[in-house]
């Protein structure tokens, strides 16, 4: 049997906590590289991570650096993507109270700053479908008002959806890159490995 190919993950490094994702990937033996402009994006890759940070800043830079359209097209053609916090907001088709396009590839409706200001930030543990109980850190986090279409919920906290998947798109409102627990990154690496080996 042919040896399965290891995926290479692009990490969007425009602003935010991208280094933390790179460290997580390194710790599970996955290669990654940073995307700061179009030339970086054109490198071969089997998945993309959109990190936490400020979604307004990342969106502005995606536009200014002409990355928005190429990244959206890649996701629409099936490239695995994992968005945390700001990344979740960028992938949502709709954001409460705002009517402009982001990457907007996922059938979820999102509330930004859903837990209020920094005083509302918190950490907890909850079940993540297929993985079990995982630590979850929420920093000025959004949550998902509803999933529809082809998106499905993977985790809830206090009745609100905080993780979802739609085929090769994975999002969490919390920050798995801030804890030592690598299981969610391994889960995404699994999706990317399938893609890298031609299972589309």
């Amino acid at each position: 049997m042919e040896k399965s190919k290891h995926p290479t993950i692009a990490v969007l490094a425009l602003q935010g906590a991208f280094v933390e994702h790179e460290k997580m990937l390194r710790s599970i033996g996955i290669d990654s590289f940073e995307v700061r402009q179009l030339a970086d994006w054109q490198r071969p890759k089997d998945g993309l991570i959109i990190p936490g940070g400020e979604s307004t800043v990342q969106l502005k830079l995606l536009r200014d650096l002409r990355l928005l359209e190429p990244i959206r097209e890649a996701i629409e053609s099936g490239l695995p993507v994992f968005g945390t916090c700001a990344g979740l907001i960028l992938l949502a088709k709709s954001v409460e109270g705002e009517d402009f396009d982001r990457l907007s590839t996922m059938d979820i409706d999102v509330r930004r700053n859903a837990y209020g200001r920094q005083l509302g930030s918190f950490s907890t543990e909850a079940d993540f479908r297929g993985i079990g109980r995982v630590p979850m850190t929420f920093i000025r986090a959004p949550y998902i008002n509803k999933v529809y279409g082809r998106a499905e919920s993977l985790a809830t906290v206090d009745g609100h959806i905080v993780a979802a998947r739609q085929h090769n798109q994975l999002v969490t409102a919390f920050h798995p890159e801030l804890n030592g627990d690598t299981r969610i990154h391994e889960f995404f690496a699994g999706i990317a490995t399938n893609w890298a080996n031609g299972h589309r």
Binding site: A13, L14, Q15, G16, A17, F18, V19, E20, R36, Q37, G52, G53, E54, T56, V57, K60, L61, D64, L65, C85, A86, R112, N113, G116, R117, Q118, L119, S121, F122, S123, T124, E125, P135, T137, I139, R140, H175, L178
Partner: protein, 290 residues
């Protein structure tokens, strides 16, 4: 599981690779947000004007800060005076996202900084060397910035502070373990923090550049020297074209290692803030709070 200090350090991690801009009105806050600021610092007067006006500089009017909180969706920071516990409590009461215990305002206490571990909201503090940085972290600061020399448009002090800090971190990282006790004594900082820096080759919190950054090139310089993000105070709204300059600085922080890109970004920005040289100023703010 609740660990406020960890959550507060985490928020600073989310600001990395970003630009935090001083704003004095909701309109300026919107300009900053649209230009790509990752947070804004709400204050009545920017440092250059504080310098020009002289007199005692205090915390801003909470009403003015609230107006800015309502205008933008990004985190809002505000400054209190060094050692002014009550100003910090007031800022916490209006749910500010980050308090800057800042040498830009007139110090309220010549000896003690605020015990920041007593607060739920996070604090950022200025430091001009590793010794100051570790003392502020011991007091509970969850983010550090260089002091620079605020309100001057002169980057020389920020560069010096970042250089000193990075060089001291490298020195600590290379010490033998049994030399760390003496290093802690010399640094006048707690042993556990000295040990952390030795083991990890970095501060336990995020470290930004601040004080005198006025151009995209200044911002890129600070990033190349090891800053994890940049505060821009007077540099934006004291310049000819704030929106354009702000957006250019945001891009310069992301692509700080690409001179071609920096050249494009530096074109046609209109006049930078006039600025004053370090030796022309009377008050050295960086000497406040050690």
């Amino acid at each position: 599981m609740e660990n406020r200090q960890e959550l507060n350090r985490n928020l600073a991690q989310m600001l990395k690779g970003g630009v935090i801009m001083d704003v004095t009105t909701p309109e300026q806050a919107k300009v900053a947000e649209e230009a790509g600021a990752c947070a804004v610092m709400a204050l009545e007067r920017i440092p250059a004007d504080i310098r020009a006006a002289g007199g005692v500089a205090r915390m801003s009017d909470p009403k003015m800060i609230k107006g800015i909180q309502q205008a933008v969706s990004i985190p809002v920071m505000a400054k209190c005076r060094i050692g002014h516990i009550a100003e910090a409590q007031i800022l916490e009461a209006i749910e500010i996202d980050y308090i800057d215990e800042s040498e830009v305002l007139s110090p309220a206490d010549n000896v003690y900084h605020i015990d920041k571990t007593k607060f739920k909201v996070p604090f950022v503090c200025g430091a001009k060397n590793l010794s100051e940085a570790l003392r502020r972290i011991a007091e509970g600061a969850s983010m550090i910035r260089t002091k620079g020399e605020p309100g001057t448009g002169d980057v020389v002090q920020a560069v010096q502070h970042m250089r000193i800090m990075q060089s001291e971190i490298r020195r600590l990282a290379n010490l033998a373990e049994d030399e760390l006790y003496e290093a802690a004594k010399q640094l006048q900082a707690p042993y556990n923090l000295v040990k952390y820096v030795h083991d990890n080759g970095k501060l336990p919190v995020v470290n930004f550049a601040a004080g005198g950054v006025a151009t995209p090139a200044d911002a890129a310089l600070m990033m190349q020297l090891g800053a994890e993000g940049v505060f821009v105070g007077s540099g934006i709204f004291k310049s000819g074209n704030p929106a354009k300059r702000a957006a250019a600085i945001v891009q310069a922080v992301t692509n700080y290692n690409d001179p071609k890109k920096l050249a494009e970004l530096s074109e046609d920005l209109g006049p930078a803030m006039v600025g004053i040289n370090e030796e022309e100023i009377k008050v050295l703010m960086a000497e406040r709070g050690k």
